[in-house]
Amino acid sequence: MAFFDQGLQPERTLLAWKRTILLLAVGSAVGARLTFEEGGWISVAVGVIGLVLAGVSYLAAIARYKFSNKRLIEFQEFLSGGAIFALVSFAMATLTILAFWYLVGPA
């Protein structure tokens, strides 16, 4: 099996994505359960959205790894842009705003 780097950097990066996505999925489910009494259907909705996003992100991370790794092996090029990082940061910041709403919003 061909690989780009003996330090297995692309593989380690994929594992980092998987760890992050797993944490997001678990956080969404547990968060929905813990906040259900106060948050009601909104908590459930946020939890479900988080789980769906985690599932989609998981598949996207694997696809991105396969595409990137192929280019790295063939051309030693890594052409990923910054859009995915902006999106993930924005999603995380939105989640923190929802957490603020839970803490100080209407009961």
Partner: protein
């Protein structure tokens, strides 16, 4: 050169990719893993803030709310640090400039320590 211009048009943000040169992919991958570490930090801080209130941890309620809000604020800071850190590091790598340290490292560390002190004070208050 023409290929680099063409590639920079398709990647976001253009202001980053239109300057400098393509770095060793291993540096970009390391930068990506650092970004994900900040996101996980943000997730953990959000979870801590929400859990303190949701589980009604038995400390004085005002102290508990203050600690929760602080941890969630730090989570927001971590999410912003994740993006800005990735952007500035990628820029430095592309332009072969010295790398910066995390801008919010001191604030984050101090904030977490302060949050822990608030929790301890809240616990002592109930005794």
């Amino acid at each position: 050169m023409k290929r680099q211009v063409e590639l920079s048009r398709r990647r976001f943000p253009k202001s980053l990719y239109s300057k400098g040169s393509e770095p060793d992919p291993r540096f970009s991958l390391a930068n990506e893993r650092t970004f994900l570490s900040w996101i996980r930090t943000s997730l953990a801080l959000t979870a801590t803030g929400v859990a303190l209130e949701a589980l009604e941890v038995p400390i004085e309620p005002n102290f508990r709310l203050a600690a929760s809000l602080l941890f969630v604020a730090l989570a927001t800071l971590s999410a912003v640090q994740a993006w800005l850190g990735w952007l500035l590091t990628e820029k430095a790598i592309r332009n072969q400039e010295p790398l910066r340290g995390p801008m919010s490292g001191a604030a984050l560390t101090s904030g977490i320590l302060l949050g822990l002190m608030i929790i301890v004070l809240g616990f002592v208050w109930t005794l």
